[in-house]
Amino acid sequence: MKRFLVRNTPGFVFLTPWLIGFFCLALGPILASLFLSFTHYDMVADPRWIGLDNYLYMFGRDRRFWKALGVTFSFVALAVPARLIMALAVAMLLDKGLRTISFYRAIFYLPSLLGASIAIAILWRQLFLADGVVNKVLALVGFEGPAWISDPHTALYTLVVLAVWQFGAPMLIFLAGLRGIPRDLYEAAEIDGTPKWRQFTRITLPLLAPVIFFNLVLQTIDAFKVFSPAFIISNGTGAPSDSLLVYTVFLFNEAFKFFRMGYASALAWVLLVIIAFFTALAFLSSKYWVHYENERD
């Protein structure tokens, strides 16, 4: 134990700011929300213990809960693969050893920095209105676009497109991963006359697997927590017809619009369990498809 502490002291010292933040700021509210999830709490009167009622209502009777889950799963299933493919494709383009690479890297990363902002979500809303820019451009080439954000069938896709556009962070990580693949493997493949596609499936993908895994886990967690764009585009309501009712918007409304803080706490814990489940699933599956170079066989 002592040796463990001595050896890891520098690590703990560097972690200190985060640890202080976690124990002083985050841990209290997290535990409080676990307690509140078993209460009826409207923020004005004191919380009242109701046992498992919140959870029973959620799974048994709340149709909007299931709707919100459905919307969120659709979003995750569409946005995560699309964003990862986009990120990998751009990273491979940039990996060609261009001289201006740092310039392009910055340009492609830009949307990810902007993406967290309210301004982009508002811009997105303007773009996809029935008489917005997207439909005006489509009209120029003879298409009549739908009323994207007013139509329950298409509203979620605008959110997915926004998520894909913000591919910068996984792209940078992919780029670093690509740089780490030894060039001589490709040279040997070239000499053997291996086609490009096979080089990709046999060299790039397997050696990149740890990085893909890393990105997959982070992006999945991120996608489950999508909030701002859905909130802004639907003016906080999840409209039209709850098609933009992602889980966190539902949770936010339960908490801060309908003042059901106890129920919202229960919702938050269920989301935590869902995310933990999918993260665990990714880790369990990883031993079948992720191989680390320095692993002993």
């Binding site: 409207d42 923020m43 004005v44 009167a45 967290a116 209105l129 029935a130 009323a147 954000i149 007013s150 139509d151 329950p152 927590k225 909030f227 701002s228 639907s234 003016n235 906080g236 309501t237 409209a239 039209p240 017809s241 709850d242 966190t248 409304n253 801060f256 619009k257 309908f258 003042f259 803080m261």
Partner: protein, 425 residues
């Protein structure tokens, strides 16, 4: 939600810094202080901060700090401050949430201060009565309003609409939509299918209300289905604003159909006429919600906003003094004008009258014209009202988009609303 959290924390830190920075300067001189919290818009905030300055000049020993956010964030912040036992001394209160806050003990009664710091000797009794809950005064009326159908006077003239907008009927309104659309090319009206405030007037004209006395839903399936049918007919005849705009819920005020030049008529609250005119070129007129041919009055006059003294108020005497000035002081009331609604003090109204701007004149004339055509003020909405309103808009969206039949959707709404109210008890 890491990004969201980080931003809110930063914003919160910014707000906290600003909030402590504002009163910091007068706080050196003053050992008494009050906080006033309201929902606003830039114009309202400017007026309110001026009033704070005036109070400050009269009472340099009391430091007043003002906090303001928009309507949507207001109730979030209010709930958070209530939970944290850190409410502002004085808060702006809305009729729909008065029961919620007063019955849970978040507000203090004002009765003991009347005539004892709070001067209400010149205050109309009608507007005052809206602030009573269970026989006690919890909220002071700081303006009254009523439902209104604003219209673009130029377009109605061009279309040759002759019906009197104070007495017109539902059929007159539909005919006006037809005339406007065919003669001017602008659609007659916003599609009000998702506007609960208008549905409420419709139901009252049928002799019912939004809620019954016991807090259950007052609308019948028929009230809802006939209302949605009325608008469906106008929509099918292409006389109202496009569907894709109609289903955007809680859209910003500035995106309204009349402001965008897409429609000639709409619905809102009468104190908003001043704000509407500020964003339009053509002069705005004010009409009543169209009447049922032989019906009861549907509209009512209600307190548009209140000021309430909270449980967490520290210097009650100073807060009451500030409150009293708000409704009596000639200088302050002149600055507040009609922005929050029609003041309940006749002396204040008389003093304002010579200086009315044209839209203020429109809203006061309208207010006078409807006095004998309105019914009793309904009780404040029961718990769960916010959610009922959301459900109405959500299910109505399916009707507007043609994904659900009117009859089926009306049934669904009444059932959903009853479930919500039951759960909220």
């Amino acid at each position: 939600m890491s990004k969201f959290t980080r931003r809110t924390v930063l914003a919160g830190m910014g707000a906290a810094a600003a909030a402590t920075a504002l009163p910091a300067i007068p706080a050196i001189a003053a050992d008494r202080s009050i906080r006033h919290f309201w929902w606003g818009n830039p114009n309202r905030d400017e007026r309110t901060f001026k009033v704070i300055d005036i109070f400050q000049q009269h009472h340099p020993e009391i430091a007043v700090s003002g906090e303001t956010v928009g309507w949507g964030d207001y109730w979030t912040k209010m709930a958070t401050q209530t939970a944290g036992r850190n409410m502002a001394d004085l808060v702006q209160m809305d009729y729909s949430l008065l029961f919620e806050y007063s019955r849970r003990g978040a507000l203090r009664t004002l009765d003991e201060h009347i005539g004892n710091g709070l001067d209400l000797s010149n205050f109309d009794k009608g507007p005052l009565s809206g602030g009573y809950v269970d026989g006690k005064l919890y909220a002071l009326n700081i303006g009254s309003n009523s439902q209104v159908m604003p219209y673009n006077t130029r377009l109605l003239e061009e279309a040759g609409v002759t019906a009197d907008p104070i007495t017109w009927t539902r059929d007159d309104y539909a005919a006006a939509c037809e005339a406007i659309t065919s003669k001017t090319g602008v659609k007659g009206s916003d599609d009000l299918s998702l506007v609960t405030e208008n549905q409420e007037v419709w139901a009252r004209q049928n002799g019912r209300g939004f809620y019954n006395e016991d807090g259950t839903l007052g609308f019948t399936v028929e009230d809802v289905s006939t209302y949605w049918d009325y608008w469906a007919k106008l929509r099918e005849a292409d006389l109202v604003r496009s569907k894709d705009k109609t289903v955007i819920l809680d859209a910003p005020f500035a995106e309204g159909g009349m402001i965008k030049g897409e429609t000639a008529m709409s619905m809102m609250w009468s104190n908003q006429i001043v704000g509407l005119q500020a964003l339009m070129q053509d002069p705005v007129g004010a009409g009543m919600v169209p009447h049922k041919a032989d019906g009861k009055p549907g509209q009512f006059i209600k307190p548009s906003m209140f000021m309430s003294l909270t449980r967490d108020a520290k210097d009650v005497e100073a807060a009451i003094m500030y409150m009293s000035d708000w409704v009596n002081d000639p200088e302050s009331t002149a600055i507040l004008g009609l922005e929050r609604g029609i003041p309940a003090n006749p002396n204040v109204r008389a003093a304002l009258e010579p200086n009315f701007t044209p839209p203020e004149k429109v809203s006061v004339d309208y207010f006078n014209a409807i006095q004998d055509k309105v019914g009793a003020l309904p009780l404040p909405a029961p718990k769960g009202h916010n959610e009922v309103r959301d459900a109405y808009m959500r299910i109505g969206t399916d009707v507007v988009l043609g994904n659900k039949g009117v009859a089926e959707a009306a049934e669904e709404f009444v059932q959903t609303a009853s479930d919500i109210l039951e759960r909220a008890k």
